[in-house]
């Protein structure tokens, strides 16, 4: 609900008007198609996420429907501000990478 919230996907504030949303989405789709570097990710409160045309399409479609927009707004308006910062390091990360290999157990 937060990671793929339409407002975050489109990078717009939750009070954006319908027409503004359409315009922005259409621009994003064009930019994604042409490979603009700065459109490839979007910010969420959980850090940056990759942006795809499917996500953008789904986001506009959701915001056109008043009910689904209501839900999207509920999350977007009450969540902390989106950030680009990646989340804290994954706890699963090895603390001695490659140790098993150097101790003769490969591969």
């Amino acid at each position: 609900m937060l990671e793929d919230n339409p407002f975050f996907v489109l990078g717009l504030p939750a009070d954006t008007s319908r027409i503004e949303i359409e315009r922005e989405a259409q621009k994003l789709l064009g930019m994604l198609e042409l490979g603009f570097a700065d459109t490839k990710t979007y910010q969420t409160p959980l850090g940056a996420r990759p942006r795809t045309p499917e996500l953008v399409r789904a986001a506009v479609a959701a915001l056109r429907d008043p009910y689904r927009r209501l839900i999207a707004e509920l999350w977007a308006r009450h969540a902390p501000a989106p950030t680009t910062a990646e989340r804290a390091t994954d706890p699963a990360e090895p603390s001695h990478p490659g140790l098993r290999r150097s101790l003769g157990w490969g591969p």
């Binding site: 609900m1 009910y67 927009r69 969540a79 001695h96 098993r100 003769g104 490969g106």
Partner: protein, 496 residues
């Protein structure tokens, strides 16, 4: 004339190694010393003898003598330091067999071959080893450990770990092979920084210790600051005894800091959840608590806090008011507010259930719509999945669709793992509910593996597990049957 002392010395050497395997005290060093001494004597004897024979131009006899006298002593070293690094799985297999450790030499050969394959994976090697493994019926610890190494050779460490650990449940014991499993697990845990796993294995003496394992256990104990941790000097001794010293000295230094600070602090997990500022309204507070799971490991406490935060947020007047107003402004259809509240409750419960499942947490004690919903979801979700898995296993067998013994075993350990995860999270109550279904399938499969497939060790392991579970939940009938099944004599290759 020569045969007697040679046999005696070989036996003595073997005895010293075996004695060392059973030990984790200063005896370990003593037995190592004895073994080394005997090895030196044997080596000197053998070289003199061989030299003499060469001198007498009996060189074919000399070669035979080398094989006879030296292989049992230098064989494992050759395997570890030459053949395995070269990835020479065939040679490792035959040499492993030739150094004749114990009654079933092929077991060590098989694992040596898999080990070589794990270090230098070669496409054909896997099939070659698998073929030799599948020829060995019934399955024992060596086959399971070899399969684990094959999984590791493919980079699938998770499977390897699971399989290695499962070997512990089998009654067939090849110490030579088991100690390798123990070493693999210790190296793997050290790589992941899971020192407590190593310490736990050491504590329970689950695996015979190789010098390398013994060293890593020392490091683990020191890092965790446990009472049984070796002294600085002892760790140095263990380090000296173990191979690959060049790669382990860093670990040793980290575990023997010169300053007074204890390394234990290193392990301690930060488990605190960012406490949301109290002035926030219930809904933002709930969302913030929810988000905290992405940065810090969830605990039963933080889960409980979040559940309560959500229950408060969804019954909060401000939330309802905001929704109502916004629904009107957006011209949402009638009933949108109630629908939205219901939808959010479902989504939140779903996500919390996934978080709880991932961290193997139970349902927090909190009574509200979200709390109750989550408890029900977790309980039924876990039980349903378990029952589906066990049912499928039995259905498949019933439909006459049989897998290779190793795959039947893998299915069992996967189910058992899921079972353990579910009951760890769900507690004694869930354990009692989960047991009857697992029991009925488990006994059935154990009987089938024993009677039809002659997989005695596997069947016994299943029965043993079921008995332990029955004891835990106090199911008298299952306990009785379990005892009867477990008391059956389990034939293994070590009998001969």
């Amino acid at each position: 004339m020569y045969a007697l002392p040679v046999i005696l010395l070989t036996r003595l050497h073997q005895y010293a190694i075996d004695a060392r395997r059973k030990n984790r005290t200063w005896h370990y060093f003593a037995w190592s010393g004895v073994a080394a001494l005997i090895a030196t004597v044997m080596f000197l004897l053998a070289t003199t003898l061989v030299a003499l024979l060469f001198y007498a131009k009996l060189w074919w006899l000399a070669i035979a003598m080398i094989g006879l006298l030296l292989l049992p002593i230098v064989g494992p070293t050759l395997v570890r330091h030459v053949l395995v690094p070269l990835g020479a799985y065939r040679l490792a297999y035959y040499l492993g067999w030739a150094c004749r450790p114990g009654k079933d030499p092929t077991a060590y050969g098989l694992v040596a071959a898999a080990w070589a394959q794990a270090v230098k994976p070669i496409g054909a090697g896997e099939a070659w080893v698998a073929l030799r493994r599948d020829k060995r019926i019934p399955l024992g610890d060596a086959e399971v450990i070899a399969t684990a190494l094959l999984a590791a050779s493919r980079g699938d460490a998770a499977t390897a770990r699971l399989l290695m650990r499962s070997a512990h449940m089998l009654v067939e014991i090849h110490p030579m092979v088991r100690e390798l499993a123990g070493e693999w697990l210790a190296c793997d845990a050290a790589e992941r920084g899971a020192w407590s796993e190593i310490a736990e294995d050491a504590e329970a003496a689950r695996w015979p210790a190789t010098p390398l394992t013994y060293f890593l256990e020392g490091v683990a104990a020191r890092r965790l600051g446990s009472a049984s941790a070796p002294s600085r000097r002892e760790l140095w001794a263990r380090w000296l005894l173990a191979p690959h010293r060049r790669h382990t000295n860093e670990l040793r230094d980290a575990a023997t800091p010169t300053s007074s600070e204890t390394p234990a602090a290193h392990e301690a997990q930060t488990n605190s959840v960012d406490a949301p500022p109290p002035d926030r309204a219930p809904l933002p507070r709930a969302i913030a608590a929810h988000l905290a799971f992405s940065t810090s490991a969830p605990s039963l406490i933080s889960l409980g806090t979040t559940v309560r935060a959500w229950d408060a947020a969804l019954s909060d007047g401000a939330t309802h008011g905001w929704l109502g107003r916004r629904a009107l402004e957006l011209d949402a259809p009638l009933g949108a507010v109630d629908r939205a509240l219901r939808e959010i409750a479902t989504v939140v419960t779903d996500q919390l259930a996934r978080i709880a499942d991932g961290a193997q947490l139970g349902a927090p004690m909190s009574h509200g719509p979200i709390g109750d919903g989550l408890a029900r979801r977790l309980r039924h979700g876990r039980l349903d999945n378990l029952e589906a898995g066990f049912t499928r296993w039995r259905d498949r067998q019933h439909d006459g669709e049989h897998h290779a013994a190793i795959d039947e075993w893998r299915e069992f350990i996967a189910l058992q793992t899921a079972y353990t995860a579910a009951i760890t999270a769900g507690g004694a109550e869930l354990r009692r509910l989960a047991f009857p279904h697992a029991y009925s399938t488990g006994t059935h499969m154990a009987a089938w593996l024993w009677n039809t497939r002659s997989e005695y060790a596997l069947s016994h392991a299943i029965s043993k597990w079921l008995l332990d579970e029955a004891l835990a939940v106090g199911d008298t009938e299952a306990i009785e049957l379990g005892h009867r099944n477990c008391d059956l004599y389990v034939p293994t290759r070590n009998d001969k």
